[in-house]
Subunit: 309 residues, 2 copies
Amino acid sequence: MSDFRVFYLGVGSATPSLRHQPSCQVIDFRSRLFMVDCGEGAQIGMRRMKLKFSRLEHVFISHLHGDHFFGLPGLLSTMALHEVGGSLTVHFPAEGVDWLIDTMDRFCKYRSFDINIEPIPSEGGLIFEDNSLTVEAIPLNHRIPCTGFVFREKPRLRSLKKDMVEWLDIPIKLRHGIKEGNDYITDDGRVFKNEQLTIDPAPAKSYAYCSDTRFEPKIASYIGTTDVLYHESTYLEQDRQKADERFHSTAADAVRMAALVKAKVLVLGHYSKSYQETQGHLDEANEVAQELCPELKIICADEGLVLDI
Amino acid sequence: MSDFRVFYLGVGSATPSLRHQPSCQVIDFRSRLFMVDCGEGAQIGMRRMKLKFSRLEHVFISHLHGDHFFGLPGLLSTMALHEVGGSLTVHFPAEGVDWLIDTMDRFCKYRSFDINIEPIPSEGGLIFEDNSLTVEAIPLNHRIPCTGFVFREKPRLRSLKKDMVEWLDIPIKLRHGIKEGNDYITDDGRVFKNEQLTIDPAPAKSYAYCSDTRFEPKIASYIGTTDVLYHESTYLEQDRQKADERFHSTAADAVRMAALVKAKVLVLGHYSKSYQETQGHLDEANEVAQELCPELKIICADEGLVLDI
């Protein structure tokens, strides 16, 4: 099983429907959960996908349209009732932090877990880092301040060649340094180069989340490159005018961004409820990809999708 | 089709589950909709039961536990996006009105409908009245201020006997008075008593909603009598201690209240998620009813139930 995967809980747009839930994704990175957006019904989505509240460590809210955060008070209240311990950090748009604090103080006062509310800088930048992962905020171009997020695994340490370690009987205290790239010098002065002792680690992976936004090439420069890109595709090109007016993207726009950030996989979502099904999105995206980036794999997300990064 | 019916959108308790939605009911009274409580997912429940947002005129929120009102921001936002016209009145616990105004101002500013927010007096009393209906708030006994609601149809006018009206050629301007109980005196002085001219109207009906509360006989004195009583039954008698500690009722408590208010029908709901199914509630209620009020009809509500009052 992959240790970096994304669960899609809601891939609909502005108004929930019987077909789609509002935006919510959960990233499972080495057994810790990171939620991105939290539309109404997110807590039910977690139950449905058997994601434990107690493993949830961070929530990132892209912007303050209700379909991206109205599930948060309910989720936090339920976590409080469940007597989940530990701590949870909510990365929230700066202009709404006072509202969230007020809402928690009023309706979710008695909690068994600590809650930290971190304002997201609208200019973007690094907002989370630990030994194995970074999360960067990416300024998007929507009607109100909106940020995307890039989850980037840090390069893993090199893997020791077990037979060499045993043959040379390398002391345990030196092994970490060798994983980091050191050579090994024996007591009698013989030098073993690092490439004799280790093999390349699995490549570090990354996942970028872009919702909601108009297509703008500048966004790609913030993202850099990514293995997998989730990009909103509220509309199709046939509804280009609506997309422009409402600061949203088409399926074709999403492919254009995927090409700029050299993604291997593009995941589409945030479909307008005016489309009954997603075949149109897939067809439009594949057509554009054939020209721009024929290797790109395109997936239309649906509630319940689980994707290994 | 009845012109006074209740749609049950959510009959679960504190935390939503895959089995039950949080509290929400919609009363359809002569084609106008009155929502009682608005747990997360209420807007989806309306779609599922094909209840039009444009017909919703009043929302009543019993108390400020999240499972009774966290669906409200999403519902109002969706109504705004749908460009529903007219006006909507939200009857909201007084201590939360400033929060609701702030939330609407921030996240649901551009609305095509007028919204009136009316604080509910914690001491109860008449909170709505028009030509055909009254709604009274009933103080309940919960951990925080909580009110129930009684929807009471006003007595209908008497029905004219069509043959008498034609035979006597009663002027149109006098007919309303006769429906109200007047006699009719002909130009030559003959008196026709009202009971010769009219028949009894259909009896006026009432529906009382009690959630969340401990059992307290005083509540019955506020309700008076009602045809149909919805009463929370979070627990069974086997969990009496939990019920007492958490200010909730058992199925047996609900029957006791039904007996006091002389209800003909009792609807149970707000089940704790610790029970897998409702047979235990039905059995316990029927056992108590056999002694106290053997004529009582008992229904365990489920999502999707529609009940004619």
